[in-house]
């Protein structure tokens, strides 16, 4: 009985020692980066939630894109904890897995979207159609099921710390059904240092049925 108690005591001390150094002294300073590249990919928003797609065909009322701004040096991703144990996992408290927070040198000032094709008889080619779009952050800062205004998309980038990666990405969703057979947009994003990043979407074919 005494041996059993001693064994329990030793195990308890062992586990306590694994828990005590649970707080790491992480470097909280952020790594600066620049938004100097823009990437636009198509979204399939015909279902419940938008997913990226390689298809250039969209429903008239479900025209949507995902815009990503990042540093041309490449996408930044913090290294995740490696899965190097099987069964009873290691106590992470025994070593420091500090995240790598990033901070952009610029924030988004405005988003301007121009339609390269007529959308409806009232909206001609070359029109600015920013007011017909709503946005939705694609990272964890998106809450609820609703969209947000493009102004809110820009506003949430001020002083933002990027914990997962040095990428600002958000969805753009057209609020009016396209009556033309095809659609294409130019997206210009003005940054806080007055630089403008511009890209065009791929040519979208509207599937009416």
């Amino acid at each position: 009985m005494r041996i059993f108690k001693k064994a329990i005591l030793i195990l308890a001390i062992f586990f306590i020692l694994r828990i005590i150094p649970g707080c790491c002294d992480c470097d909280e300073s952020t790594i600066p980066f620049n938004f100097n590249s823009i990437d636009i990919i198509n979204l399939d928003n015909s279902g419940e939630w938008a997913v990226t797609t390689n298809s250039d065909t969209m429903k008239p009322g479900a025209v949507a894109f995902e815009v990503a701004l990042f540093d041309s040096l490449g996408y930044f991703y913090a290294a995740g904890p490696s899965l190097n144990s099987i069964g009873f996992g290691q106590a992470k408290a025994m070593r420091c897995d500090c995240s790598m927070p990033f901070s952009a040198n610029q924030s988004l000032k405005s988003i301007r979207i121009t339609s390269l094709y007529a959308l409806t008889p009232e909206i001609d080619a070359g029109s600015e159609v920013s007011g017909y779009f709503v946005g939705r952050p694609t990272n964890n800062s998106s809450t609820g099921a609703l969209y947000t205004s493009l102004e809110s998309i820009c506003g949430q980038t001020i002083g933002k710390t990027y914990y997962d990666s040095g990428v600002e990405s958000f969805g753009l969703f057209l609020t009016v059904p396209v009556e033309n057979d095809c659609a294409r947009f130019a997206v210009s994003i003005k940054l806080s240092d007055n630089t403008i990043l511009t890209d065009t979407t791929r040519l979208i074919f509207i599937q009416n049925k």
Binding site: S46, K59, V134, T148
Partner: protein, 295 residues
């Protein structure tokens, strides 16, 4: 193990001392000073199922079964009479989840206690009890065709609490082994307000909208008769035990009014409506049986 035994022994000694003190404290003859009862039974809830019409009526989605009791009950009741005129009663009720989330507190006042078989008094009650509200998203599933009517794939079920107070006359009788009680109460009750969200998306389109329901406390008058009867099966000293059966009902015409905010596309685009729902009859009936021990 020795420590646990020691604690249990201590607890038993404490209880024994308490009951000994309580028995000595009963200088005058009374039917009972302290009573513990445990009863089991069922609760039936019925409400007029009104058509939803243009607005969601949460009353239509209160949980109910076609056959048998809607809820199984296990009640633990404690009664204490510090004087001959006043009696306190607390009841904790466990539903199928075995969580005591229903509470009834009663105070009985008998202005002229006597040795007659029948005495009268007044009873004041406070109660709160839960019931399930479920599947209310089906209102949108049926109505909002062309939409993915609820983006939340989980089964919709929440507990809503009905809270109320009541006051009325009580009639007690005691003859030989038999004793009983009849109460008639009038009171006011209402469902504790709750919030619910229904998020939707149009099929094959970007359009999203969200309904946000914020219910109001909508108090309603109710009538609540109750009856209890018991038979003493054994007695030794000042302790007695037996079986009891009790039944009670509640009739009320009530509604759940709410504020509905409809967001389309974004939270900036909101339309708010105050919805007043037509009142409908709500009936509750409970029947329970079990054992009691009186000191």
């Amino acid at each position: 193990m020795a420590g646990i035994r020691c604690h249990l022994f201590g607890l038993l000694m404490l209880l024994q001392s308490f009951f000994a003190f309580w028995s000595n404290a009963q200088s005058s003859e009374m039917v009972e000073k302290f009573r513990f009862s445990i009863t089991a039974g069922g609760r039936y809830i019925n409400r007029d199922s009104m058509p939803d019409a243009g607005n969601l009526d949460f009353m239509n989605y209160l949980y109910g079964q076609n056959f048998g009791a809607d809820y199984g009950l296990l009640s633990l009741n404690f009664r204490m009479a510090p004087t001959e005129k006043i009696e306190f009663s607390a009841t904790a009720v466990l539903l199928s989840d075995l969580i005591p989330n229903q509470l009834n507190i009663d105070v009985r006042y008998k202005p002229a206690p006597n040795d007659n078989p029948v005495t009268w008094g007044m009873i004041g009650s406070f109660y709160i009890y839960p019931q399930y509200l479920e599947n209310y998203n089906s209102f949108h599933l049926f109505r909002d065709t062309g939409f993915i009517a609820d983006l939340d794939p989980n089964f919709r079920q929440i507990s809503v609490y009905d809270i109320g107070i009541a006051l009325g006359p009580t009639l007690n009788f005691s003859k030989g082994r038999f004793h009983g009680e009849i109460n008639f109460s009038l009171g006011i009750s209402g469902f504790v307000p709750f919030d619910e969200r229904i998020s939707q998306k149009k099929k094959d389109a970007n359009l999203r909208r969200e309904y946000h329901y914020e219910t109001h406390y909508s108090p309603a008058l109710f009538f609540r008769p109750e009856a209890e009867a018991g038979i003493r099966l054994m007695s030794f000293g000042k302790t007695s035990g037996g079986i009891i059966i009790k039944a009670g009902g509640m009739w009320s015409e009530r509604s759940i009014n709410y504020k509905r905010t409809t967001y389309t596309w974004t939270t900036e685009d909101a339309i708010t409506n105050e919805i007043k729902i037509e009142k409908q009859w709500y009936h509750k009936f409970e029947i329970e049986g079990g054992f009691y021990l009186a000191f």
